[in-house]
């Protein structure tokens, strides 16, 4: 039930942002579509078991996002520098690294965070082993230190 209310709030917010009108008729249409979407999703729950796996509910998520933005800016500057220096300055590497997360959502978040950061892309996941293509040897080495892995794993606890 709690999930339904959360989902309803998110959908209502989505409708209000996208419409921007507050006339009773349009609000009524909005309410109707929110109810229909929740009903359809409720039926899907019986099929695949997961109701709303899109967002990890964690209090530490904002802190992680801030750290992530800093990380993205740092690696962006590095990749931009290497583009202007030319293909002599890159050293493409494929490395494997271990994902310490237990849930599927945690693993997805970790793999997507790796892909989001320029310079590293997740190629495949087998159980908890990630195969990562890195633009430079340095980026691969930084990843294998495992700071990002630790930060994502902590998100699962709260």
């Amino acid at each position: 039930m709690k999930v339904v209310i959360n989902f309803g709030i998110i959908l209502t917010g989505f409708w209000l942002i996208n419409s921007g009108y507050f006339k009773p008729l349009l609000l009524g249409f909005g309410f109707l579509s929110v109810v229909i979407v929740i009903a359809i999703t409720w039926r899907m729950k019986e099929k695949d078991g997961e109701f709303f796996p899109l967002i990890m509910m964690s209090l530490r998520l904002p802190g992680y996002l801030l750290w992530m933005i800093g990380q993205i800016i740092k690696s962006n500057m590095d990749v931009i520098r290497r583009i202007w220096l030319g293909s002599k300055s890159i050293s493409p590497t494929i490395v494997t690294c271990k994902a310490g997360q237990k849930s599927d959502a945690g693993k997805v978040l970790y793999a997507n965070s790796i892909t989001m950061t320029p310079g590293t892309i997740t190629m495949s996941i087998h159980d908890d082993i990630l195969e990562v293509h890195a633009l430079t040897r340095q980026a691969a080495k930084d990843l294998q230190l495992g700071e990002m892995d630790r930060r994502v794993t902590v998100l699962e606890d709260v």
């Binding site: 989505f14 942002i17 996208n18 921007g20 993205i72 800016i73 962006n76 990749v79 931009i80 583009i83 202007w84 030319g86 293909s87 890159i90 050293s91 493409p92 590497t93 494929i94 793999a111 997507n112 892909t115 989001m116 320029p118 310079g119 892309i121 997740t122 190629m123 495949s124 293509h133 633009l135 040897r137």
Partner: protein, 106 residues
């Protein structure tokens, strides 16, 4: 105040444009599909972020601001997904990646 916001917004938009061009140049400069995806991920992250930040500064406090944030969120979800699909398909069907073997690591 108005002028200050305009200047900041223009700086963001121009830097974003420069970063986007850099990503496009990297797309041509790098040797194979795997490294080229790294170049295009620049346009997905910092170019998108800077241009959106510039537009948010122009929008001010309004519904438009929330819409722009929504666009940012959707792009942040979709662009890593697409990059992952591309590289996975390339790994399975495409050419072998060019790797750097100049120095052997211990």
């Amino acid at each position: 105040m108005e002028l200050l916001i305009d200047v900041a917004s223009w700086i963001c938009l121009l830097t974003g444009g420069f970063v986007g061009i850099t990503g496009a140049i990297g797309l041509f400069r790098f040797p194979d599909i795997y490294t080229r995806l790294h170049a295009s991920s620049i346009t997905d992250t910092s170019c998108m972020g800077l241009i959106m930040l510039g537009l948010i500064l122009q929008a001010g406090l309004s519904v438009l601001l929330l819409k722009l944030l929504l666009v940012m969120l959707i792009l942040a979800y979709t662009s890593p997904t697409v990059a992952h699909i591309l590289i996975k398909t390339a790994r399975r069907e495409g050419p072998e990646p060019i790797l750097d073997n100049k120095e052997v690591e211990s």
